[in-house]
Amino acid sequence: MTAGTAGSGVRVERRGDVLVATIDRPHRRNAADLDVYRALEEAVGDESAVACVLGGGGADFSAGDDVAIFDFPDAEAARAFVVEVTRLFRLVESAPRPVVAAVDGYALGFGFELALACDLAVATPDAVLGLPEIVHGAAPPNAIGRGPDVLGRGLVRELALRGRRWLTGVEAHRYGLVCELHPADGLLAAAVALAAEAASSPAFRSAKRLLALDAERAYGLAPLVMPRLLASPTVAASRARYARG
């Protein structure tokens, strides 16, 4: 077992040949900042592992982007951030090994989009998955880019525009976002087993390459459209509210 990247907000360990990266910022409900993105990119890109499991420490997967970092003086600054997030999703989809999400508690916004980008996802029945960006004056471009393939556009529309309509793990399973449900105490082991099983298939790489052919279309939208929105006054006001707690 190797301890990983101290201070990045992500714990990295080995379970056999499978690398487990755990977002570990429970005081922020595992909301992600730039350090988290970079640490996850590193974990997903680790060629010494046969597969990668992404999970959350404590009670949640990830409650979203940490809006505390949404401090963009202009669209150019916001663009650097959006490019970083999009890079992570592209890496997850292009990694030549399985990437599996283990979702417990909140998987909101970024957490939802990350689970969606993964090849497979497992969850607890009472996990909570949603796209609340619109409530804060932002938008979930990656969920809109990739979501219809997985969930159907009808459901993505509702989640993206209603903001507070969240799915339970059971619903996410019914709609195909999650392929297995497990109790919290067996979730990680199930994700590791699933990842190892997928990695053992000789055809895995080819299948994944085929499935990811349109990833460019799915993730190409965010850098084009998001920077201006993230630099908007509504988002700044939302950040100020969160900063006050």
Partner: protein, 241 residues
């Protein structure tokens, strides 16, 4: 109170900022849409787009049900050109709804057949009362629910789309929920639609505009495909009606 309601036979626009409602009110024809009604609906969507006080649109029907489809008594297409001109009506309307930078909430009750079900593919949130029947009944008339088989593919998924399009089978709200044609089942859909629309009207306009633009990105291509293959089908049907 709604101000200055714009009237058209069987169809009206109520503007009650931040909401606007398009109400189909032609119970004697089971709210079937005539060609002038389709044109009026398209105009209303344009008015809603241009009215900055309006931040969400509700679409609903008065009487026994939401909408029984397009009024086929007006269907007469001697040639492909006539059919093309007719098609512009519904297709421009669907495109306008997807391009409207404001949420579109639909309240269903009773029945939603043909156009009544197809318009759901351009809606952002659909609420339905228990017992509502839905269906793409076009095949009964020798027609094709073209928007379902183009734009509907990634809303409801290919397998289900094929079944609904090829059989014209009527489905209940439970099955419509599974197909993501309906989002919420609720006893009073009209009241609930207003409530949801008011909530959505509260979001930042620039965020709503962007989300809707992203969701509607492929709409024009999908509708162009429908525009391409439908006219000969319509000419054929005029012969058989």
């Amino acid at each position: 109170m709604p101000d200055a309601p714009a009237a058209a036979p069987g169809l009206r626009l109520e503007v009650e900022p931040p909401l606007a409602r398009i109400v189909i009110d032609r119970d004697e024809k089971r709210n079937a849409l005539s060609i002038p009604m389709l044109q009026a609906m398209r105009r209303f969507v344009g008015e809603v787009a241009g009215d900055d006080r309006v931040r969400a649109l509700v679409l609903r029907g008065e009487g026994r049900g939401f909408c029984a489809g397009e009024d086929v008594t007006g269907f007469e297409f001697p040639d492909v050109e006539t059919a093309e001109r007719f098609l512009d009506g519904p297709l421009d309307l669907f495109l306008a709804l997807e391009r409207l930078p404001k949420p579109v909430v639909v309240a269903l009750h009773g029945f939603a057949f043909g156009f009544g079900s197809e318009v759901l593919l351009a809606a952002d949130c659909v609420l339905a009362e228990p017992g509502t029947r839905l269906g793409f009944a076009e095949i009964d008339h020798g027609l094709v629910p073209s928007v379902l088989v183009t734009r509907g593919l990634d809303t409801a998924f290919r397998r289900r789309v094929l079944e609904l399009a090829l059989t014209g089978r009527r489905i209940g709200v439970e099955e419509a929920l599974e197909a993501r044609l309906v989002h919420v089942v609720v006893d009073d859909a009209a009241a609930a639609a207003d409530e949801v629309a008011r909530e959505l009207a509260g979001w930042a306009p620039e965020a709503v505009e962007l989300v809707k633009a992203l969701l509607g990105a492929g709409a024009a291509d999908d509708h162009d495909r429908a525009r391409e293959f439908m006219p000969p089908v319509l000419v054929q049907v005029a012969v058989s009606l």
